[in-house]
């Protein structure tokens, strides 16, 4: 049981550090997916521990939301790349104070 949770925490931390440090939008995106899946792993593990299906159902929801998010996110990234020839998140900083 502990191993699952520790693995989930490690994966989440990797994703988190990736989001904060990488500039390439695609990599940031993958790191976000990593975090989501780390959460899924934790949900499933806890569901197993408590012996009910709540956590598993939530994991399905997360997957559905993640799939929808990927569709929109990739579309945005592609549009930005087409106009700017760059996928760096730091370059897209026009919307500010």
């Amino acid at each position: 049981m502990t191993q699952y949770v520790v693995l989930s925490a490690i994966l989440f931390t990797i994703g988190c550090v990736g989001v904060l440090t990488r500039r390439n939008a695609l990599v940031v995106f993958m790191c976000v997916e990593l975090m989501l899946n780390a959460c899924n792993l934790a949900f499933v593990a806890f569901a197993r521990q408590h012996g009910n299906l709540d956590g598993q159902i939530t994991a399905f929801f997360v997957m559905v939301v993640a799939a929808a998010e990927v569709v929109i996110g990739l579309a945005i990234i592609m549009t930005i790349f087409r106009t700017r020839r760059s996928a760096s998140v730091d370059d897209a900083s026009l919307l500010k104070y």
Binding site: L20, A92, S93, L95, K96
Partner: protein, 659 residues
């Protein structure tokens, strides 16, 4: 029963003030009483509210002939007053209080104020004075205002004034009196500021209005106190129940009424407006600021005799105020070079004499009214004379530029001389009889006050002789382009009539007629024996007057009068030229503290209240300016914020769970 014992108590005290009990619905010619007010009111309405809306030739006709309407209304009112007076003469002394109920003005709970008129012996005399002198001045003003393009409006205001003054006099309760009181105040304001393109006239009008408001506070508070104490403000009700009120209430009532009288009659300490009021056209100065309106304070005191009789402290206050004013005004009259201001100082002083008599109780009331009437004649005469002189001198008012006008304007000179002899109290002239009796009564009452009044008579003789000499006699000191000429007939005829009245006004005293006539209104009083025989007193007064005249002759008549006022003068002269520092005192006591109070409040508002509000908003604004820097456009810094927030939430949850 209560009433009966009341009467007994009053009779025992000897100074019973008569109860006003008008006999309503007297019928006959008295049913027309309301017309006396309505006629000039109609004139004012036509001239001020209808004429401006006329078109084309009608409007031109109204502007051209409007003054005739105004004069006609005033004259008709005079004729009616005369008819009423004759009818009143025909009645017995007990039946001479006539009431007329017009309509109920307002009613709430047990309180009811009617539009009631009261025509009695006192009102009858006032009616004749106001409409009579008023009509003469209307006639005079036709000539005086001939070249003024707003003559129609001027006559409208004059009619408005006459209507308001008649309301003041004829009202049977203090509320109606207050209506007239405010009405004459308004008319006075409009007429002082008639030439409002002159900043000095506009300022003088405002000054008169504001100072009068101070007095009006007194009168309105007195009315409120009457409602609270007696439940009514009718003369009849108040005079009947005055004996039931406590001494403190009556004293307060008397002092409040005195405050009102001081404002309207320019008595110290509310005297400062009268001299400035001379900025108005001269007929206005003659009618409002000499003959009628300024005497309203005297009327108020005499009318409210049922209160003053029971409030000795207030009566003493009246005497003190009057004595101070009669000397104050006389001193001002000595130093002024402006002919109208010198006459205005004299008006203050003469009203002081009337107030003095009114403060002496039933012995004095008839003489107060007598002097009021004679003063109305001779002062209106002299003001109109001064107007005639100004007319001939291109509106110059400085007496130092006059001199030798007796040849150039003989009629004005002669009529003015009649007024002059009347005011200084030359034996036989009207002022001699009226002033003499006031001083006699004052001497019998209080030696100091009486002697001060004698002194005032001496000063009066001095300044009037000075005025007379500087204007009509002595060397010519005219400006180069001035060609004095006699005024037209329309101006000189009223002068002649008023001069005749100034000479003959004394007939009212024949056989003590005016005393007997007014007795039912003012109450009967035993005369105190004066300290000296009356004849000796008269001789002393005449001697003092002669000294005053002689002094003026030696100081003014025998010397050359410089065209410019000498600047190297004594302290006394400088003080008198500065109105005895009346304005300075007002400034120091009222204006400056008021201004600093208002300034302080404004500063508190700006710094305190605005500071809190504006400081708060500025703080929020500054904070948000700093905060918006967080919105820097870098996605990764947002992500860091989200992480930090999430960690914070997790830590908080842990802390809650483990605590």
């Amino acid at each position: 029963m209560n009433l009966l014992s009341q009467t007994v108590r009053l009779v025992e005290e000897g100074g019973a003030a008569p109860v006003v009990s008008p006999d309503t619905g007297a019928g006959g010619v008295f049913d027309l009483l309301w017309l006396v007010i309505a006629l000039p009111l109609l004139g004012a309405f036509l001239l001020l509210a209808v004429a401006p809306f006329l078109q084309g030739s009608l409007k031109a006709a109204a502007d051209k002939h409007g003054h005739l309407v105004g004069t006609a209304m005033s004259t008709l009112s005079f004729v009616l007053s005369l008819v009423l007076f004759v009818a009143l003469l025909g009645r017995g002394a007990e039946e001479r209080q006539i009431g007329q109920h017009l309509w109920t003005w307002f009613e709430t709970g047990s309180l009811s104020v009617g539009m009631d008129l009261l025509y009695d012996q006192l009102a009858a005399l006032f009616l004749l004075l106001i409409t009579g002198v008023g009509s003469l001045i209307h006639v005079y003003a036709i000539g005086y205002m001939e070249h003024d393009e707003r003559r129609r409006r001027f006559f409208g205001y004059l009619n408005l004034f006459v209507a308001a003054m008649l309301t003041l006099i004829l009202s049977a309760n203090f509320v109606g009196l207050f209506l007239g009181w405010e009405g004459v105040g308004l008319a006075s304001y409009l007429l002082i500021g008639f030439w409002q393109h002159k900043p000095s006239a506009a300022a003088a009008a405002k000054k008169a209005f504001v100072i009068n408001r101070v007095g009006d506070i007194g009168l309105s508070l007195a009315i409120a106190l009457m409602f609270a104490t007696f439940g009514t403000a009718d003369f009849a009700g108040v005079s009947e129940r005055a004996g039931d009120a406590s001494q403190d209430t009556l004293t307060a009532l008397g002092l409040l009424l005195l405050l009102g009288a001081c404002g309207k009659s320019a008595q110290v300490p509310l005297q400062a407006w009268l001299l400035d009021a001379m900025e108005g056209p001269t007929p206005v100065s003659a009618l409002i600021h000499a003959a009628t309106m300024v005497t309203a304070g005297v009327y108020l005191v005499v009318r409210a005799n049922f209160i003053f009789e029971l409030a000795p402290i207030a009566q003493t206050a009246v005497v003190v105020v009057a004595t101070v004013t009669l000397l104050w005004g006389a001193v001002l009259g000595c130093a002024k070079d402006d002919i109208k201001k010198a006459l205005a100082g004299s008006t203050m002083s003469q009203i002081g004499y009337m107030m003095l008599a009114a403060g002496l109780g039933p012995v004095g009331y008839p003489f107060a009214i007598f002097h009021l009437l004679t003063h109305g004649f001779f002062k209106a005469n002299m003001f109109l004379g001064a107007g005639s002189v100004m007319h001939g001198m291109n509106d110059d008012v400085d007496m130092r530029h006059y001199g030798g006008l007796n040849k150039a304007m003989p009629v004005t000179f002669l009529t003015f001389a009649m007024g002059y002899l009347a005011i200084i109290g030359f034996p036989g002239f009207s002022g001699f009889w009226s002033k003499d009796r006031i001083i006699e009564t004052a001497l019998a009452d209080n030696l100091v006050v009486g002697l001060l009044a004698v002194l005032g008579a001496g000063i009066t003789a001095f300044y009037m002789t000075r005025l007379m000499l500087m204007t009509f006699l002595t060397e010519k000191r005219w400006a180069k382009d001035v060609h004095p000429h006699e005024s037209p007939k329309v101006m000189t005829v009223p002068l002649m009539v008023l001069a005749a009245l100034s000479v003959l006004g004394g007939v009212l005293l024949l056989g003590d007629w005016i005393v007997t006539w007014l007795e039912p209104v003012t109450g009967h009083a035993e005369h105190h024996e004066p300290p000296l025989p009356a004849l000796v007193i008269t001789l002393i007064i005449t001697a003092v007057v002669a000294i005053g005249v002689a002094t003026a002759w030696f100081l003014v008549g025998k010397r050359d009068v410089p065209r410019e006022a000498p600047q190297e003068v004594s302290f006394a002269t400088r003080a008198a030229r500065a109105d005895l520092y009346g304005d300075a005192i007002n400034d120091a006591v009222v204006v400056r503290p008021g201004a600093s109070l208002v300034g302080g409040l404004a500063t508190f508002d700006r710094v305190g209240v605005d500071g809190v509000v504006e400081g708060g908003s500025a703080g929020i604004g500054g904070l948000s300016t700093t905060m918006r820097r967080l919105q820097n456009g870098f996605v990764r810094s947002y992500a860091l914020s989200v992480l930090a927030g999430a960690l914070l939430v997790v830590l908080a949850l842990l802390a809650v769970n483990f605590a």
